[in-house]
Every structure is written in C-alpha cells, then in structure tokens.
C-alpha cells in the first residue's frame, strides 16, 4: 500500500494528479481523509508553487470606517490590505532577520547613526510610474513631519534628517540605533508614489496585487499586478479580503469553503475546528501579550512591595490554560519572550506563590482599602474572566483586589494609560529595543506603567548603540530582570496567533511577527 501511496504522491509532485483524484484513490486504499490530506499537501509542496486561483481571506478586524491610507492602519484588515498593494523598504523575515524588499541592501555606519538604503531600480507603481528615492523620502516625511497623524510617528521620532540621493536613501539619526532596519520594516511605512502626499488613501503602491474594489467594512478586492518586481511573490490571480467580524460566521465561512483562511480562531473552538478534514488550524507563538498594568508613580502602586505582592498573586499556568486554552505561554512580568532576538532564557520564571504574595503584601503596609482593577471585554479576549481569576488568587493571599467593569467603548481613551491599574494588551514589536522604547522608556508616550528609571533608560541607549550582539544580549537581560522585579507590568501570558487555513493552500510558514504569516499569505502560498 505504501508503494502505491508513494507513487501517487510522486504523480502529484509531477502535477499529474489533482487533489480530488488523490483523495479518492487514497480513500480506496483505506487511508483516512486527514492523513491523505497531509500527504497531498506535502507532495504538492514538493511540486513548488502553482500559479492561479482566487484567494479569499476571512478576517476579523475591519470596519466601515477603514481607510487605505497606511498612516491610519490600526487593525487586521487594513494591515492585510497594505500587504497586498504595498511594499516596505525591508521586511522582517520569519527567522527574525531583515529581508530586502524595495531596498536591495541596507548598510549602517560604524557608529550606527547613518543608514543607507540602496533602492531597487525599475520598480513600477500600479499607476505606471517608476519608484524613485524621492518617493521614498516623501513617504518617510509624511509619516514623520509635524502634520503627521501616522501610527508610525512614534518610531520615526529618532530621525534627525533624511536624504534622497539617486538610487540611495540616507537616514541620519539623533542617537545611534542598531535596529533602524527593523523600524523601517513597520507595516505603516508602505512606499507610495509622491509619498502619498497628494492622495494618501488611493491604495496605489508597488505590491504584488493592485486594488480593484474598496468597500470598507465589507470587502477589499485585489488582482495580480503583472509588473511586480519579484515574480516569486503572489501566485494568485486575485485576493479578496472579506471582513467577517463575527467569530461564528468566520468559522462557518471557512468550514463551508467560502474563504480559504481566517484569523483569530477562538481558543475554545480551535481544537474542535482542527478536527475538520478539509482545514488545518495553525497556532503560532507570537510576541503579543495580555497584561495588567500598574502606574509606578501613583499610590498605592508606587510601593514596589505591593507591586511584587500582586505579581506573586497571579496564577499564570491557570490563565494560559483557562483564558488561552493552552494556545499561548506564560509570561514573566517583562514584555519580552523567546520570540525576540537576543532573548536571555536564563532569567528565572516568576512562580505563583500565595505565601510570597502575602509576605510582600504585609511588608508593603497597605492600609487594606480595596485595590481597584479596571477591566473591559475589549482589553483583551477573556480579560474579564482573567481579572476574576486574578481576584480569587489575590484574595487567598489576603489582597483586597476589587474589579471594576468598564465599557469597551472609549476604553483606550478613558481608562488605558489614564487609570492607575487596568487590563490591556500589547501586540509586540520585532525587536526588544522597539518594545522597550515604545512603552518603558521614561519619556515614551505609551509608558503605560509610568516606569521612569534613569538607569533603565541609560541601558536602553547603550544597547542601541552597541553593535556586538553578545554585549547587547547582556544589557537586554539586565533590563528584563529590572523590569521583572521593579516594573509596573504584570504579564501573565503571551498569546498565540491561531489561524484556520484550508488544505487547498500550500506553502504555510510560521511567522511570529504579525498574524497570518505577517500578512504574507498571498505572496507566499498557492493552491495545491
């Protein structure tokens, strides 16, 4: 039987047998559908990418208010749209290295202050124009000038000056930063003709698919752009991003074959869904984490003993098991995990301990008044339940934790970064430097734990200017330990990206940068 199966698999690899024929014959040999399906996928992968077909992605995270202007991207659907029609200068590869896109190569000066991007020549925009270094410059200006409302504004702040120079684009920084290429891989920084100054929402870029229909909150249709600079990207004739915010509807659409892939599979149904024969559930560990954050400068959280008491009073294993249903990993009160480059895995894991929590609580001398934790459903999926679990374990340690439910509406403007203790989430960043500078630097806008320690800031700057990875790793390790023992962050868990993908598709790659293969499914996958 094995010989026969192998023969059939080689037929598939040679392109002589379709999926339907393969499944039918495999069933006749008594092979279960799930096994046959995996075998077919392997054989088809060996055959290499096939061109053609219409890909449909069913995604949560789109609204009728979405714009195609990359500066405004803040949710899943706009993020995916940008990846269809646009390219950045560079991209973060699945292995965490920097992959060239519109820049052929990147070079930094010895002090990591001046960076030079050599631009790919002859790249065509969807409107027929050829990309120049001027377009790159204007794009970067639009995301960083004083009128900017870009989501990338924060990461562009360290730039002192920029210059377009023939086929080169130069960036000079205020302070050295060895991670600049990672900042330029940000998904907002899509190169647009004239930098999108005249018409930012036109949806014109250099990507492998060009915009056909834009119906915000409903669907976005893209068709193959024949003149894309890289023929290995984009195997489909068209890509349709369908907005399906309702989790049940999304699952039903995948099961019935109306879409080929969905994001945000609910952890509680992931196991069940994975049993369906025609699809695979992929779980990718990422850098996103669910957190409870305390303001280190506001009573009673200005007392590190109380912060430690709360950190010890949370049962991380139980949270991963009950809130994430096992689709995630436990946190260590720092925003960094093994998905980051230069992560130090020798930092001891904080354990759940009622005794230590009680001890620290006593030491803190807290007057026993209720400690209010603000939470809303929208803070992260399962936030209210997680807070309830936290409350129970805290009570065992004698800590009077009280939960205050807040409405989802306005949570990010009225509660997060305003109230001293609340639930929140972080999507993670490609490198440690960016995560720390975004939320733990004294002067960061989003320093949502009000963690202001000069020693920590100094280490961050030192690591930035350090080009030797071993030394950087050491500094980052110290910073992680410091945050873990002194910070206002309680990080119980890192969540996985859970995605459902039809077995008709081949070429899946795990990518922890962002969900759905970092938005690269339409570039790298194909119909088997």
């Amino acid at each position: 039987m094995n010989d026969q199966l192998n023969h059939m698999a080689s037929q598939v690899t040679a392109g002589k047998m379709t999926r339907r024929e393969f499944m039918g014959k495999a069933a006749a040999l008594g092979v279960s559908a799930a096994v046959a399906s995996t075998m077919f996928a392997d054989a088809a992968r060996a055959a290499g990418p096939k061109k053609g077909g219409d890909l449909k992605l069913g995604l949560q995270g789109g609204e009728s208010t979405n714009s195609l202007d990359p500066a405004t991207y803040a949710s899943s659907v706009p993020f995916q749209n940008g990846k269809q029609f646009g390219d950045q200068l560079v991209e973060v590869a699945p292995d965490g290295s920097i992959e060239p896109r519109l820049a052929e190569s990147v070079e930094g000066s010895a002090d990591a202050k001046v960076w030079t991007f050599k631009l790919r020549q002859g790249v065509e925009f969807h409107n027929g124009k050829t990309m120049t270094s001027e377009d790159v410059l204007k794009t970067m200006q639009r995301h960083s000038n004083e009128d900017s409302k870009s989501g990338a504004l924060g990461i562009m702040r360290g730039i002192e000056s920029m210059k377009a120079d023939g086929e080169y684009f130069h960036v000079t920084l205020n302070e050295p930063n060895a991670d600049l290429p990672y900042l330029m891989a940000d998904y907002h920084l899509i190169i647009q003709p004239d930098g999108g100054m005249d018409n930012p929402g036109a949806g014109i870029g250099t990507g492998p698919y060009k915009l056909e229909a834009d119906e915000p909150g409903v669907r976005h249709l893209f068709s193959k752009f024949e003149n894309h600079w890289n023929g290995d990207f984009g195997h489909f004739d068209s890509v349709e991003v369908v907005v399906i915010n309702d989790a049940t509807a999304r699952t039903a659409a995948l099961q019935s074959g109306q879409v080929h892939a969905i994001n945000r599979v609910e952890p509680k149904i992931a196991d069940l869904l994975g049993r369906a024969p025609n699809l695979t559930v992929h779980s990718t560990s990422g850098r996103g984490h669910y957190v409870f954050i305390m303001h280190c400068d506001t009573a009673p959280f200005d007392n590190n003993d109380l912060r430690m008491a709360l950190k010890y009073a949370i049962n991380r294993e139980e949270m991963v098991e009950k809130i994430l249903r096992g689709y995630g990993s436990i946190g260590n009160d720092m925003p960094i995990n093994a998905a980051y480059p230069l992560f130090d895995d020798t930092i001891p894991q904080r354990e759940f301990s009622i005794e230590k929590a009680a001890e620290y609580y006593k030491k803190s001398g807290h007057d026993g008044s209720p400690i209010i934790l603000r939470v809303a459903d929208g803070a992260f999926p399962g936030a209210v339940d997680a807070a309830a679990l936290f409350q129970q374990t805290a009570q065992q340690a004698g800590i009077p934790l009280e939960i205050k439910r807040e409405p989802n509406d306005g949570y990010w403007s009225e509660v997060w970064n305003v109230q001293p203790f609340c639930a929140s989430y972080w999507g993670g960043r490609p490198v440690q430097d960016q995560m720390y500078s975004t939320a733990y630097l004294s002067t960061a806008d989003w320093n949502d734990t009000r963690f202001k320690v000069k020693e920590f800031d100094d280490m961050l700057f030192a690591a930035r200017a350090e080009l030797d990875p071993a030394k950087r790793k050491e500094i980052y390790s110290k910073m992680g330990r410091m945050l873990r023992d002194q910070g206002g962050l309680i990080c119980p868990m890192f969540n996985d990206f859970i995605e459902g993908v039809s077995n008709q598709l081949a070429g899946w790659e795990s990518d922890s940068t962002q969900e759905m293969m970092n938005g690269n499914m339409s570039r790298k996958m194909w119909f088997a």
């Binding site: 009128d147 409302k149 509807a249 509406d409 403007s413 806008d445």
Partner: protein
C-alpha cells in the same frame, strides 16, 4: 382643500420638524459619548501629537454648535458631506448600504407579510382547533428564540452541513439577481421567522374581534361560507390595526436588523452605523440617523393614512 390632502401635508410638515429634532438629539448624544473621532481612530496607538494633528484635520477643534449648523446647511442643500474617518463621500456609501438594506427588507417583506396575513386568516377560520394552535405555537416559538441563534442554527445545518447556501450573505454589484437571492436566502428566512408572529397574531385578534359583530352573524345566516365571510366582510373592517403592525414590522426590517447583518456578514446600514458610532464619525451617524428616522416616520404616516382611508367614518368627518 380635501381633508385627506390637508392631513397628509400636516403630517409631512410635522415629520420634517421631527427629523430636525431627531438630528439635534443624535448630534447631542454622539457628542456626549466619551472620546472623539480622532481618539477613536488612533485607539491605543494615539500619541498627543498625532491626536492634535488629526483633530485639526477633521475640524474637531471648532465648537460643537458650529459643526452642527454646518452639517445642517449642507444637508438642506442635499450635501451629506464626507466621512471623518475614511474621507469617503457619505451619500455614495450610504446609498450603497441603504440599497442593500432595502433589498433585504423588500424580499423579507414580500414573503413574510402575505404569509403572516394568510396564516392569520387560516387561524381564524380554524379557531381553537389544531391548525390555529399549530400556527400560533410555531410562530410564537420562532419569535421567542433570539434571531442570532436561529441564524447560527441555519448556518450550521444548511450552509456548513448541507452546503445548499453560502453562510455569507455578501452581495455586490457584479452579482446577478439569482446569485443575490441565493446569497440572502438564509437571512430572509430568519427575518421572516422573526416578524411573522407579531403580524399573524394581530391579524387573528383583529378579525376575531370583528367576527363578534352583528353583520358577520347576518352573513353567516345568509349562508356564506366561512372563508368568504372572513375575507369579504371581516378583513376590510380589521385592516387598520393590521396595517399598523405591518408597518411597524417593515420599519423593523429596515432599521432593526443589525444582529442579522452581523451573523450573515450582510453589508447593510446597521453594521455601517454601528461602526461609525464606535468611531464617533458624527456626520455619518447623523446621515444614517436621519434616514432611519425618515423611514420610521414615513411608514407610520402610511399606516395612519391607510387606516383613515379604510374607515368611512374617518374618511368623511362631520
């Protein structure tokens, strides 16, 4: 002037006044919500500079009253303006969505209204016997189950298990009428189930009420058959309350189906409005609110006029 024309013009004037009231109320309430469009768009990633720049661009720095009257001047001239969040022309986007909503409501009404009235008549004809009890039991059950649950159950069995229809009721201009009808089959069934009971019960009650009267007894004594009595003599006299209920349900089919839209991913007005309320996109919320209010007021006006026309005593007031 003919009393009917006078009545209609009075009602119309009142309706327009009501619309202004509604728009002011909607504007005030959206303003009272915490946060503004700039804050909502930037969400967790808002920096103070980006916020200030976006507020400036959206014109949110000007006083609320100025913005309201600007909007009012625009709408009176037929200009709904552009959306704050994605800069698209509101008239065009709303037009598409409203078209979809009316399309769904039309087919749902086309099936549910005649069906409800017919079932009501049958229930009267077989009053207190098994057909009456069966009809009441089934329709009351379907109205009591939340519509999203009926929706999910239908999706699971009919779309996922049997594969007869798509679970996504997404329609767009490139589809033929047949494809569109196939796409909206499931939501139409759900909506029909939801609105059936109300209209059916009202038809039954109104006709039963008339059936007690002397002229129906006379008709019976004349030897007319039962169904003919109901149809020719009882139904016309019971039409006013029925039309009222039918209009209420039609209004519901247009303005109240956001849950069904979410379950079936139907690109209608409901979801569109909810998205823009979440993002505090005031001009769009106002436009949608005024359209919904106009539909409600219009349908109620139709109900009033029909009941007057159907009643000779009201038609020829002394």
């Amino acid at each position: 002037m003919h009393p009917i024309i006078k009545l209609v013009s009075q009602r119309l004037a009142l309706g327009i006044l009501l619309l202004f009231g509604a728009s002011a109320l909607i504007f005030g309430l959206t303003e009272a919500l915490p946060g503004d469009a700039a804050q909502a768009v930037l969400g967790q990633s808002a920096t103070p500079e980006a916020l200030a720049n976006l507020r400036e661009e959206m014109g949110l720095n000007r006083p609320a009253l100025t913005r309201y009257f600007e909007w009012l001047t625009g709408i009176v001239q037929g200009d709904m303006g552009t959306s704050l969040t994605n800069k698209l022309d509101i008239a065009e986007s709303v037009g598409n969505r409203l078209g979809n909503t009316l399309f769904l409501a039309f087919w749902a009404a086309l099936i549910s209204v005649p069906l409800a009235i017919f079932l009501g008549l049958v229930a009267v004809r077989y009053r207190n016997r098994w057909p009456d009890k069966l009809i009441s039991a089934v329709t009351l059950t379907t109205i009591s189950i939340p519509e999203f649950l009926i929706g999910y159950v239908l999706v699971y069995f009919i779309a996922v298990k049997l594969g007869w229809f798509s679970p996504l009721a997404m329609i767009n201009d490139s589809m033929s009428l047949g494809q569109k009808l196939s796409a909206i089959a499931l939501p139409v069934v759900v909506l029909t189930m939801v609105v059936l009971a109300h209209m059916m019960r009202m038809t039954r009650a109104a006709i039963l009420n008339v059936m007690q009267s002397a002229y129906v007894e006379t008709a019976e004594l004349k030897g007319l058959n039962n169904f003919k009595i109901i149809w020719r003599h009882a139904f016309p006299n019971a039409i006013a309350p029925i039309v009222n209920v039918v209009m209420l349900n039609l209004a519901y089919l247009v303005v109240g189906v956001v849950v069904v839209e979410v379950v079936f991913i139907y690109p209608g007005m409901g979801q569109y409005l909810v998205d823009h309320v979440t993002k505090r996109d005031v001009p769009v919320v106002l436009a949608c609110g005024v359209i919904f209010a106009a539909i409600y007021i219009g349908l109620n006006m139709v109900a009033d006029i029909v009941s007057i026309l159907a009643n000779p005593r009201l038609r020829h007031p002394k």
